[in-house]
């Protein structure tokens, strides 16, 4: 991991196309502004990981038996 210190309003540039700027620092929180091409996916890490985890759980649950869905149908 590359570790850099930045002050308020300073930036880092990644791969020439991605820029991360420190917009605000307060209350134990840092507000980041991220400029990147639309094709670059940007996520809050813990949210992305939670979605990934739920996808895995959902996948495994299907094995429980799609037959269970027979119990639920439109009248």
């Amino acid at each position: 991991m590359l570790v850099l210190s930045r002050k308020l309003h300073e930036s880092v540039v990644i791969d020439d196309e991605i820029e991360v700027e420190i917009l605000e620092i307060s209350d134990g929180k840092v507000k980041l502004g991220i400029k990147a091409p639309g094709s670059v996916a940007i996520h809050r890490k813990e949210v992305y990981e939670e979605i990934a985890k739920e996808n895995v759980t959902a996948l495994d649950s299907g094995t429980l038996g799609i037959e269970k869905l027979k119990k639920i149908n439109k009248k």
Partner: protein, 151 residues
């Protein structure tokens, strides 16, 4: 083409393969899925990975279970699947089945968005964190429960 499915053995599919340029969170390498009907069940579909038999997800139309569901999808998310107007957009939520099927949940924070016309899809993490990753399909007040249970 013939594909191997998780639930129904080998099947012939003629069209309808959807390309996921970024895969899915947790399954980033998976690129091609097809949406299959669940026999005799209009509530659910299955999203089957065309290249990997064991990867198949149960999907639900979120509005069948929560008619008030509102998604604020930024234009750049729609652009990523080549959509310029919401008319050609199809939306599903991934379902997590539970032992007691009526306790099953769906992921409303990260719906699957599909551009039907061009066959492109993605799982979009909504920025509105009010949405539930594990929203119960059947709530006590939910009429769907009454209308849904097969005899």
């Amino acid at each position: 083409m013939m594909i191997d499915t998780k639930f129904w053995g080998t099947m012939e599919i003629e069209e309808g393969i959807i390309e996921f340029h970024e895969g899915l969170p947790g399954f980033e390498g998976e690129r091609h899925f097809v949406i299959l009907d669940v026999p005799d069940n209009a509530f659910f579909k299955v999203m089957q990975d065309v290249d990997e038999r064991r990867l198949a997800f149960v999907l639900a139309n979120p509005w069948e279970f929560d008619p008030e569901y509102e998604m604020d999808i930024p234009d750049d998310e729609l652009e990523l699947i080549g959509i310029s107007d919401a008319q050609s957009l199809q939306v599903y939520c991934i379902v997590t089945l539970k032992e007691e099927v009526l306790d099953s949940t769906m992921n409303m924070l990260a719906p699957i968005l599909i551009n039907l016309k061009d066959g492109i899809g993605r799982q979009c993490v909504l920025k509105d964190s009010d949405h539930n990753v594990r929203k119960k399909l059947f709530d006590k007040e939910n009429e769907v429960l009454e209308n849904a249970c097969a005899q």
